[in-house]
């Protein structure tokens, strides 16, 4: 009976697509130790999403556009960015500040802000579903295309460089993929909780298995469990979906910590 409602069916399909993308991309994000970059991108996305709403575009378009630009920027800066916690932190707050300003000019301030910050998967319509599907397909195809040199450069940067791989190019391409995954994830859990889908399942998977591809599969499976389990629990308790997804993601991660 949970599937009797159109909005629930949409929500299940949407979170399924996003879990697939976030689980797979997140695995490599954790492998490369770049989880902070994922977090930063989601904040930049907030300004993009609210700005898009203000000029009458779908929030997802603004989100994806902004995160993509920021992802490529971070990739190009590369090593020069490492250790610049203050600079990154300032850009984060600046983005949130601009997002707030854009919301200020938009009339239905509160609902829109909550949706962007904490997600609103139950409000996903057909059009958004198609966008999620399209962006997700592009994201996974791009990830597959770069996966071989990406793994090489992530595990053994100096050797990869000696073999003719450009670590800079790989970093830019990968962060572009991450940017799309972040934009997708914020549709489900909001920009503030992107970590829960992109990092939680991936980090748990890496604690549970040392095999690379098994780890990717496990990460996707855990993300699916978090997302669909969260939706189901939200349906029966009437508590927010994003709360349940973070609760499940946290539970799985800390259980994996205890086991390993």
């Amino acid at each position: 009976m949970i599937f009797a409602y159109d909005f629930m069916r949409n929500a299940f399909v949407a979170s399924g697509i996003v879990a697939l993308v976030a689980g797979a991309v997140g695995y490599f994000l954790v492998l490369r130790g770049q989880t902070f970059a994922g977090h930063a991108l989601s904040h930049v996305g907030f300004a993009g999403a609210t700005g898009a709403v203000l000029i009458g575009l779908p929030p997802l378009a603004g989100l994806a556009g902004f995160t993509l630009m920021a992802g490529i920027g971070i990739g190009l800066l590369g090593d020069r960015l490492s250790g610049r916690d203050v600079a990154i932190g300032m850009v984060l707050s600046l983005s949130l500040g601009f997002g707030l300003l854009f919301l200020h000019f938009y009339t239905s301030f509160a609902t829109q802000a909550t949706a962007v910050l904490f997600g609103n998967v139950l409000a996903v319509d057909r059009e958004t579903l198609w966008m999620l599907g399209g962006l997700g397909a592009i994201c996974l195809a791009a990830l597959a295309a770069v996966s071989r040199p990406l793994i090489f450069a992530s595990l053994q940067a100096e050797i990869a460089e000696a073999k003719g791989v450009s670590p800079r190019l790989i970093a830019v391409l990968f962060l572009a993929v991450v940017a799309i995954a972040v934009a997708e994830s914020s549709q489900i859990v909001g920009v503030l909780l992107v970590f829960t889908l992109m990092v939680g399942p991936a980090a748990a998977a890496q604690r549970l298995t040392g095999r690379l591809w098994l780890g990717v599969a496990l990460s996707v499976a855990l993300a699916l469990i978090d997302a669909w389990g969260g939706l189901t629990l939200a349906f029966y308790t009437d508590w927010p979906t994003s709360f349940w997804i973070t609760a499940l993601s946290g539970l799985v991660y800390f259980a994996a910590l205890l086991k390993a």
Binding site: R148, P149, L155, Q156
Partner: protein
């Protein structure tokens, strides 16, 4: 055949001259110990041979062809860095990432690729080791995986950058013996950099000592001498031989020992 030929090579890094006008030839099958203080250019020279760093003058030829990035004739093991050491990935995937790692797409390795990985792991006796997470391995075990990775693809020249770092003397000896053994079996040329000459004395054919933008290549007796090292260090150096060991001293300090100590503090 000549494995490495440097013809009046100069190397610079960030405006600083590392090597100036160095010419040398290393024959195929030689085991060469590369020594010198920190910053003397051991790593830079290896990266130039790999084609990662361009020469600022002169030319380097590897097996009688010009250097180029991605030369399959060269296997390379850089210094172990900490990020990988904390990875929970198993060693097998770490070694496997090198197989055609420069190609785009999904990493299908095929039967030949997988056989090559298993062959390289067997050579360093790490077949069962490779099933464990890297973070659970000791420094010596990680070093074996790094050397296995360098052996993938059947190279003819091995560049090993400080494989003895942070290993205790018995493990240092085990790594040297293993490399010597593999190099003999597969007729490989080896450049093996280290802080201290003593562990390598029994294994190396010749020494390449770098310092003060100069290089000296020759037998231990030719290179580890007071005049040669004084030129390389730009200071008065005394060479003391004691019970089969060599001490390189400057004003009463053991230079190689100091360098090693410094690196230890640096790493941990």
């Amino acid at each position: 055949m000549t494995a490495i030929a440097c013809d009046r090579v100069s190397l610079a890094l960030g405006g600083r001259t590392i090597l100036a006008d160095v010419s040398l030839e290393i024959a195929e099958g030689e085991f060469v110990g590369v020594l010198g203080s920190n910053g003397s250019g051991k790593t830079t020279l290896m990266r130039a041979i790999l084609g990662v760093i361009p020469t600022s003058g002169g030319s380097i030829r590897v097996f009688e062809t010009s250097v180029r990035r991605g030369n399959p004739m060269i296997g390379y093991a850089p210094q172990v860095r900490s990020p990988v050491a904390h990875s929970r990935l198993r060693g097998w995937d770490f070694v496997a990432s090198v197989v055609d790692g420069h190609r785009w797409g999904l990493p299908w390795r095929g039967t030949a690729g997988r056989k090559d990985i298993d062959r390289a792991l067997a050579l360093v006796d790490a077949t069962s080791l490779a099933q464990r997470p890297i973070s659970e391995l000791s420094g010596g075990e990680r070093q074996r995986l790094l050397i296995a990775q360098a052996l993938v693809g059947a190279p003819k020249l091995l560049l090993l950058d400080e494989p003895l770092i942070s290993l205790d003397p018995p493990r240092q000896q085990a790594v040297i013996d293993m490399v010597r053994d593999i190099a003999g079996k597969l007729a490989l040329t080896v450049l093996f950099s280290a802080h201290e000459i003593n562990p390598l004395l029994g294994a190396l054919d010749r020494v390449l000592y770098l310092g003060n933008t100069h290089a000296a290549l020759g037998s231990v007796d030719q290179v580890i001498t007071s005049p040669v090292l004084s030129r390389l260090y730009g200071a008065d150096i005394e060479v003391i031989r004691l019970r089969g060991r060599i001490f390189v001293m400057s004003r009463g300090h053991d230079l190689e020992r100091d360098a090693h100590q410094h690196e230890h503090n640096h790493v941990h």
